[in-house]
Structures are given as C-alpha cells and as structure tokens.
Amino acid sequence: MAYRGMLAENVTVRGHGGDVIEAYYARPLGAAPVPGIVVIHHAPGWDEWTFEIVRRLAHHGYAAISPHLYHRHGPGSFDDMAARARAAGGMNDAQVMGDVQGSIEFLRNQTYASGKIGVIGFCSGGRHTVLAASQLKGIDAAVDCWGGGILPSERFPVSENRPVPPIQLTEHLSAPLLGIFGNDDQSPSPAEVDQHEEALKRAGKSYEFHRYDGAGHAFFCWERPAYRQEQAVDAWTKVFAFYERYLSTADVPAGAAVS
C-alpha cells in the first residue's frame, strides 16, 4: 500500500510592509521536493472554499498557501473582515502584491521546496494573479480563474487602491498564463477576455485560455448556485496539466499521481 498524507494548518507570513498576516497552508507529507503554489482568494474572502482549494492542490502534490488578504481588517469572522474591507474601498494592489511576495518567500524557504512557484487566483484573485505575474519575480506559472478588472471599466475604475489595470502591464508578463472563463460571466465579459487575449498575442506572450459555455462567474464554487459540475471538472484537468508542464523540473516532476 502506498502512503499518502498531508499537513494542513494556519501559519503566518511576513507580507506587505513587514506585516505578519495569517495564511492557510497545506503540503504533502514527506521530504521529497515539491513545487509551491500561492492561492489568491476571491473578493468574498478567505473562506472554507479557499481552504479546500489549498488542500486540493496539496493532494495533487503541491505545497500551497493562501495568505489572508483581509487579515488587517480583523478581528472577526472571515465575512465580517471582508465586509470591513469592502466598506474601506476593497483591496489595495500594492498591499496584495506584498502579501503574495511574502507567501512566495515562505514557500521558497521550506527545506522541501523544489524551487518552482505557481500562482492561482479566483475572481479578484485572478486579476491579482495577472498583476503578480507582471510585477513580481520568480513565478513559473500563473492561473487566472475568471478575474474581472483586467481592463479598466465602470465596475473597475482606476483608483488609488488599484492604479494600474493589469492589461497595461501585458508586456511585463513574465510567466506562462492559463485563463479559465465562463462565457456567461459579465466580469470579465467575453469581449473583455477577447481584448486581453489580443493584448497577449500582440506582446507574444505564452498563454492558453479555456472558455466554457453554460458557465458564468465562480463556476468552480460548489457551494454556490454558480457551480457547473461538468465545466469545473474539465477546467481542473486543464489547471493540473498546466502546472505539471510548467512546475516540473528535470529531477522533480510536478503533480502527484492521484489514484
């Protein structure tokens, strides 16, 4: 019998401004080197669904960590903190990038780190993934799940908190990008995804987009009416294939065999 196990726990990372923030971390047990993945949570907050994503990635052979981007709006339950963050104007891009960078350093500092780093984000986290892959160093694979606000719009105006639309940084994208989108989504709309794709093509970037009919925003979220089982199952295979391709090294193939 083969042994499988994981460790999943709350940890802290030193994020933006040197702030110590909480994070949820899960990794496969054992000394073998594994790639790391930063999970950037969605606008609704650092919720149980996000923790399940972290554990899922660990089950598939990755050390995964999700920093709590609303940590500074505590104390309270995750939704109370999300409500405070919303009332204060939402996430600040520079702060999120600092927290993501701190999480990358956390992954790199582990003795079992293979050295490969991936990022995945959902909703606002998808937008942050594109930002991170354009502004931070050392990311080997980036996955944007239905990130709205890549382009400036009425819903996502340029502001002090979000001064640069990610599409304006396309030339600086330094990692292969996987995009997962539902064609019924309004943010990003299919037209916005088209524009993002055009920008990536013009800039000669490595990317692949998968767009799903019959699915809208947040279609991976099993606990919401938005969940679309068939589309989510297929999209997850795309995510894991992408990470296997870009987070493997000659000595360390990424992705544990799941039987």
Partner: protein, 94 residues
C-alpha cells in the same frame, strides 16, 4: 460578478446584533454575491458603527425583488406611521 461598488448611507439609530443593541451610523448597501442566502447575487446591507471601527455588524442578504418590495414597505410604513403619530399628537384630535 464581484465588485467593490458600495452605496453608503449615513444613518442615525441602533441595531441589535448577537451581543445586543449597539449604535449605528452607516449602512453599507451593495448588490453582489451573498455569503449565506441561496442566491447568485443579493442586495446586501451591513449596519455598522464606522466611527467605532465597525467592531460588529448586522448583515442582511435579500433578493433584488425582495429589496424593491422592502423599499416600498419602508416608505409605506413611514407614511402611515408618521401620519398616525402626527394625528395623535394634534391638540385638535378627539
């Protein structure tokens, strides 16, 4: 979709949360994904005391249709209630 679009109403009054009554000065109103209501989008209202740092809140998530009906009922209750209380306070009332 998720946005940070929020309407803020300055309000005067009190709300009752899990730890009892507290003063409120703000209602944050937004149409977005709910946390609990079985809806894709809901009209959400957070009653808070921002001056005190919003230590707690009374949160409501209702459908768009419910919210529109609620607006009508609020206005109707105000109209009827203010009229009856004004009539009761009138020295001319028998």
């Amino acid at each position: 979709m998720c946005t940070y679009i929020t309407e803020k109403a300055s309000i005067f009054g009190s709300a009752k949360g899990p730890e009892g009554w507290f003063r409120v000065d703000t209602a944050n109103v937004y149409f977005d994904h709910p946390f609990h209501a079985p809806l894709d989008h809901s009209l959400n209202i957070d009653f808070v005391n921002e001056a005190a740092g919003s230590p707690t809140r009374v949160a409501v998530e209702i459908s768009a249709e419910s919210a529109r009906d609620l607006v009508e009922k609020i206005l109707a209750a105000l109209a009827a209630g203010e009229a009856s209380h004004t009539a009761g306070e009138s020295p001319a009332a028998g």
